[in-house]
Amino acid sequence: MRNPMLTPGVLMQHDGNTRARVAKPPTATVVAMSTPLMPFAEAADQIDYASTAFVILCASLVLLMTTPGLALFYGGMTRTKSILNMMMMSFSAMGVVGLIYVLYGYSMSFGSENIAGIIANPFQHFGLSGTTDTVVNPFGYEGYGNIPELAFVGFQLTFAVITVALISGAIADRVKFSTWLVFSALWVTFSYFPIAHMVWGGGLLSANETSLSSLIFGSTDGTANVVPIDFAGGTVVHINAGMAGLVLALVVGKRIGFGKISMRPHNVPLTMIGAGLLWFGWFGFNAGSELAPDGTSALVWINTTTATCAAMLGWLVVEKIRDGHATSVGAASGVVAGLVAITPACGALSPLGSIVLGVVAGALCALAVGLKFRLGYDDSLDVVGVHLVAGVWGTIGAGLLATATGLFYGGGIDQTVIQILIALCTIVISGVVTLVIALALKSTMGWRIPEDVEVAGIDQAEHAESAYDLVSVGGRVGAPSFGQHASSSDSKNLEGAQS
């Protein structure tokens, strides 16, 4: 028999907590990659083809979230003159982070050579060496779940990409494209990989016996007594990106005319399409994080749906009461708020619990997006109001509503305490690292495009393109001679294009 392990005897039943359920080998909890790697040759006939297909498809779904899902969601909310730059920030995150992940990102996040619980050795699997013929079972499922390590690499790669792309919404319309590219590379290296390692790779915020949780609540057989819950990236992805967005918005500064001139979304249908694609891709993000098509992944699918439906309605109700109308942008934003909030909690909640988590997330974020006007920072597309706020709520909400260990289910306060701690740690690490990188770039490359260029439109200046052919321009066609192009900051280049 080629694959005796395809069919588990019974449907894996969800027992309430997240990956702690699979703690059959004592070290396999939230900690990925804790089982020994098997050489491919010995294990080839043991690959679980169902799980492998599942993970590869889910990884592809997560890519759909960034390109084009997030690019459209953000692009529609910018102004006519800057949609291309906004979409390019998502596409370029794909380019930069996709390469870095293969070079050293995977090794730095999930390598076995742990350095102080903060990162793994980036050179252990440099260029994915030593991973191309291995089979892993990251959560130690018995009887199924063996996947090629490269499938796991691919799935994790897509998470790093979208986390960087999420940040771009905070600094729309005004940032040098070159500075953004360098920032993407630095930030994913010094903020994303370490936090991914700490939470998922067996570092300080995991359930290892050397983790923060073990230090506070003790450990049994090498696993913390209280296992931090972050199923699919509430801390690693959303709090991390949200905090980075807040710091960048503060360092980079406001768009010219922020709070005075109208900066309403220029193409709401694009934003709606983007939100729909994000929702679709998010099934890969959340259900895929189970890394196997089992009972928990089905529960995760349901919870991802119910929380998101509830969040959309929650947002719309707040809008109707406060502003008098339920808006399309509100529905799209509510969808994203719900998806963010359920991300860390989706494996630990019941469907009813997910409704509670979702409706609170929608209402909370609908109120939070107004804060930037009161506090005076220009988080242009509400990365803070949606991702940071819903990410923190989802992470803490998992502690309240987890059916196995949650406060509201009689599990005591411990789970909630560790959830608050991992959220706070992520906020501090992401905040400090982003601040250092942002200030360093500010004093070297600089963040802002020149003022006149910003007013005229960043698409023309940074990319020499227009999204919409609103006025057909005269002139001739010819091949540009190499190196003879006008510099991007040369505002003379814009004359004529503006008339």
Partner: protein, 112 residues
């Protein structure tokens, strides 16, 4: 000769066009315009932030007519464009010195 210019609500455009055709007008020029009068603009809310949109979309119709038709054409447009609600628009008439048809070179009333 006169130039009749009308600023109307965009969704009244078809009715006005048909009424002008029925009256016997042979051609007209349409452009998209933005503006406001006594109704001012309207407000839109995105993510809780209220934006006042001063310039609302309008259609501008321009028709060249013989002197004696000008008053009737204004009436025709007025009747077709009127909804009775704020923002219905405005019509004005100005004298035109000369007109030329590009294809044939005809001038004056012949060119209308």
């Amino acid at each position: 000769m006169k130039l009749v210019t009308a600023i109307i609500k965009p969704h009244q455009l078809d009715e006005v066009k048909e009424a002008l055709e029925a009256f016997g007008i042979q051609g007209m020029t349409i452009s998209e315009a933005h503006g406001y009068g006594r109704q001012r603009g309207h407000s839109e809310v995105y993510r809780g932030a209220e934006y006042t949109v001063d310039f609302v979309p309008k259609s501008r119709i321009e028709v060249l007519v013989d002197d004696m038709d000008a008053s009737s054409v204004v009436d025709v447009i007025l009747k077709a464009a009127q909804t009775g609600r704020i923002g219905d628009g405005k019509i004005w008439v100005v004298p035109v010195e000369d007109v030329a048809r590009v294809r044939t070179g005809e001038r004056g009333v012949e060119a209308i």
